[in-house]
Amino acid sequence: MDILITGLLLGGTYALIAMGLNLQYGIARIMNLANGEFLVAGGFAAFWFYTAGQVSPLLTIFIVAPLAFALNWLIYVVMLRPLVRRAKSRGQLEVDAILTTFGLSFLSVGVMLALFGGDYFSYSYLARPVQILGDTFALNRLTAAVAAVLICGGLWLWLNRSRAGMSIRAIAVAPDSARLVGIDVPRLSALAFALGGAVTAVGGSLISTFLTLDASTGVLFTLKALVIVIMGGVGDVRGTIVAALMLGLLETFVATVIDPGLTLAAAYLMFVLILLFRPQGLFGRKTA
C-alpha cells in the first residue's frame, strides 16, 4: 500500500514534468528541447516569490501560468512559425525544431544564470507529514500530485469535450486535412504550444517545493519528459498520464523491494521494452 501511494505520488510528479512537452510535441509538432528550462524558470519564480514575499507557490502558479503562456506564444510566433511554414515534411520540421530549441535551451540557461546566478534555489514549503492509510507522506508531494490530477483531468476534458480541444486533436492526427475542414491550424498550434509551456512552468513551480533546482538542471527534466511522452504515445494525454504513473510505481517498487540503485536501470528497461513491442507508444497510433 505504501509502495502504491508513494509510486502514485511520484507518478503525479512525472505527469507534471511530461504533460507540457506532450502538448508541444504531440500537437504543435515542436520537439521542444528547451522545455526543461521553462520548468526551472517556473520553479525559480515560485522560489523568488516565496523567499521575497512569503507568497505560497500555490498562488504563484496563477502568475506563472499566464506569463509562461504569453512568452511561449511569442516564441512560437517569432521563432518557430517560420520553421513550420518552411518545412516540407514532418521529418524536416522535427530536425529544424530540435536544432532551434536546442539553441533556445542554451540561451535560456544563460539568461537564467545572468538573472539569478547559478546557485541552488531551495526552500521549504509544506514539508510536513500527512497520514494516509497509516503511512506517512510529504504534504508538498501530495499537493503536487493533486494538482497534476486537476491539470491533466482539465486538459483531458478540454481536449475531448470542447470544440477548440477537438480541433486541436484533429491537428495532432492530420494537420493537412484539418485545414480542409476549416480549422485555423497556425493559431491553434500556437495555442497548444503556449499551453504546453504554461503547464510545464506551473509544474516547475509545484515541483520546486520538494526538489532542489539550479539554472542548469533543466535538461534532466527534458530527458525524463521525453521518455514519458514517447512511452505513452505522442500527442495522447491519457498515454502520458499512464506512462508517468507506471514509471512512478515501477521506480518506487524497485527502490523499496529490490535496491534503490536499480531504479534508473528499471526505468530504462521498461522504456526499451515498450519501444520494442509498441514502438508507437502505449496509446499511440501506428503511422502508415
Binding site: D2, Y120, S124, P129, F137, A215, S216, A255, P260, T263
Partner: protein, 400 residues
C-alpha cells in the same frame, strides 16, 4: 564561453592618478580561472569557487597588487565556463596558455575536473594547487604530476572522521552501534562508502541498511523509509547537494530522527540552514571549519561584503587559501617563472586563513577538517586530522 575581466576600482584609481609609473599592460598579471558556471556542478561552484576568485582578485588589487621582485602587479582574472565537462576544462586551460597567455591558472573546481585537467596543467608547467579535489589516489597523482598540490584531504580521512565522531558519541553513551548508510552512486559517494565500510566494521558498528541511489533521483522517500525500518542509531549519507537537501527533508517528514544524522556535500552550505532553519541544528556533515576563529570570521565578513553572499563552512576558506598560497609563492620566488614558483611552493610552508599549511611527501595538506555540525546556526568543525578549534559533537534531538 564566458569571459569577464575584473579589475578592482581601487586598482583603476591608483593607475589613473599616476601612482604607478609604467604602462598598464606590463602592470597586470593574467590569471586564468576555469570552472563550472553551467552543468551539474555549477550550483556548488557558485558557492565555493567563483565568489572566492572574485574576492581574491579584489583583495590583491585593493592591496596594490602582487609584489614580484619589487614591482607591483595588478591581477586580471580571465574566466571560462567549462560546463562541468572535463573536455571543456582542458580546452579552456589550453586556450588560457596559448591564446590569452595567462601567467598562472587557478585549479578548477571538483575532484573530477581537477584530475582530468592535471596533465594539461603539467604540460604548460602551471602549479596546480587544488582546493576541491578529494581522492584516495593522491599518492599516484602527485607522482605523475609533481606540480599538483592538495588542500582539502582524502576520502579515507573524510570517512574516517565520520567513524571517529560516531565512536566518540557511542563512548559518551549517546548512540548505540547500528548505522544506516546510503550513498549516491557516483565517484564521490562510492569512494567514501567503500572507505567507510571496513572502518565501521573495525570500530564495531553494525551497518543495518546499506544502499546506493542513482545521481538525480527524484524521490528519495523509499531510501529514507528503508533506513527508518532498520531503526538505526545513526544515519550516514554520502550525498551530493540536491540529494543532501532531499534526504534531509524526507527524514524530517518520515520522522527518521536518530541521535546522529550525517549528510555529506552541501550540508556546510549556508543554504542548508536557510532551508531547514532550526531543524538543521545538530545535523552532521562533511567538512567543517574553525568557525569561531577570528581568521574565519574576518574572512566571512569580507566575503559577504565583496561578493554579497556568505561562504560555506567547508571548501570556501581552503579555496581562498589556495589562491593565497599561489600569491605568496609568486612573491616569495620573486618571479613569474612558473617552474621557480612551483619549486617555491614545494619547499615552503604557508600561513593562510585556514592556518599553517605544510606539505606531506605527496604534496598534500595532511591536516584538514573532516566532519562538522550545525550548532546554534553555525556549522562548526567537530573532527579533523590535526586542525585546531574542533568542538565536541552533540546528539541531535529530533527535527523541531
Amino acid at each position: 564561453m564566458n569571459r569577464r575581466t575584473i579589475l578592482g576600482t581601487v586598482a583603476a584609481l591608483t593607475l589613473a592618478t599616476g601612482l604607478a609609473g609604467t604602462a598598464l599592460a606590463q602592470d597586470t598579471l593574467k590569471i586564468g580561472a576555469v570552472g563550472p558556471k553551467t552543468g551539474p556542478l555549477a550550483g556548488g561552484a557558485e558557492v565555493s569557487f567563483w565568489p572566492n576568485v572574485q574576492l581574491w582578485a579584489h583583495d590583491v588589487n585593493a592591496a596594490g597588487g602582487i609584489d614580484v621582485g619589487g614591482t607591483k602587479y595588478m591581477v586580471e582574472i580571465i574566466e571560462y565556463d567549462d560546463q562541468t565537462n572535463p573536455g571543456e576544462t582542458i580546452k579552456a586551460v589550453q586556450r588560457l596558455a596559448t591564446q590569452d597567455k595567462a601567467d598562472f591558472v587557478l585549479a578548477p573546481y571538483s575532484t573530477g575536473l581537477n584530475i582530468a585537467s592535471a596533465p594539461i596543467f603539467q604540460r604548460y608547467g602551471y602549479p596546480m594547487i587544488t582546493h576541491t579535489a578529494i581522492s584516495d589516489q593522491i599518492e599516484d597523482l602527485s607522482n605523475k604530476f609533481p606540480n599538483m598540490y592538495f588542500l582539502l584531504g582524502g576520502a579515507t580521512g573524510l570517512a574516517g572522521g565520520v567513524v571517529e565522531v560516531l565512536s566518540d558519541m557511542r563512548e559518551a553513551g549517546e548512540i548505540g552501534s547500528t548505522v544506516a548508510m546510503v550513498n549516491v552512486a557516483d565517484a564521490f559517494g562510492i569512494e567514501l562508502a567503500e572507505a567507510a565500510r571496513p572502518r565501521m566494521a573495525e570500530a564495531g558498528f553494525e551497518i543495518v541498511y546499506d544502499n546506493s541511489y542513482p545521481l538525480g533521483t527524484q524521490d528519495l522517500s523509499p531510501v529514507i523509509k528503508g533506513a527508518k525500518a532498520a531503526e538505526p542509531d545513526a544515519f550516514v549519507a554520502f550525498s551530493y547537494p540536491p540529494d543532501t537537501f532531499g534526504l534531509t527533508e524526507q527524514a524530517k517528514i518520515a520522522g527518521l530522527a536518530p541521535k546522529a544524522f550525517y549528510t555529506a556535500v552541501a550540508t556546510a552550505f549556508p543554504a542548508y540552514a536557510g532551508r531547514f532553519g532550526a531543524a538543521a541544528e545538530g545535523v552532521l556533515g562533511a567538512g567543517g571549519i574553525h568557525a569561531d576563529g577570528d581568521a574565519f570570521k574576518e574572512y566571512a565578513a569580507r566575503h559577504m561584503e565583496v561578493t554579497g553572499q556568505a561562504p560555506d563552512f567547508w571548501a570556501s576558506a581552503p579555496t581562498y587559501a589556495s589562491f593565497q598560497i599561489l600569491q605568496m609563492a609568486i612573491e616569495g620566488a620573486g618571479t613569474t617563472d612558473r617552474e621557480k614558483v612551483a619549486e617555491y611552493i614545494a619547499d615552503n610552508s604557508f600561513d593562510t586563513i585556514i592556518g599553517p599549511i605544510d606539505w606531506d611527501e605527496n604534496n598534500a595538506n595532511a591536516k584538514y577538517w573532516t566532519v562538522g555540525q550545525w550548532q546554534g546556526g553555525v556549522f562548526k568543525g567537530v573532527a579533523s586530522t590535526g586542525r585546531d578549534g574542533a568542538v565536541a559533537a552533540m546528539p541531535k534531538t529530533g527535527w523541531e
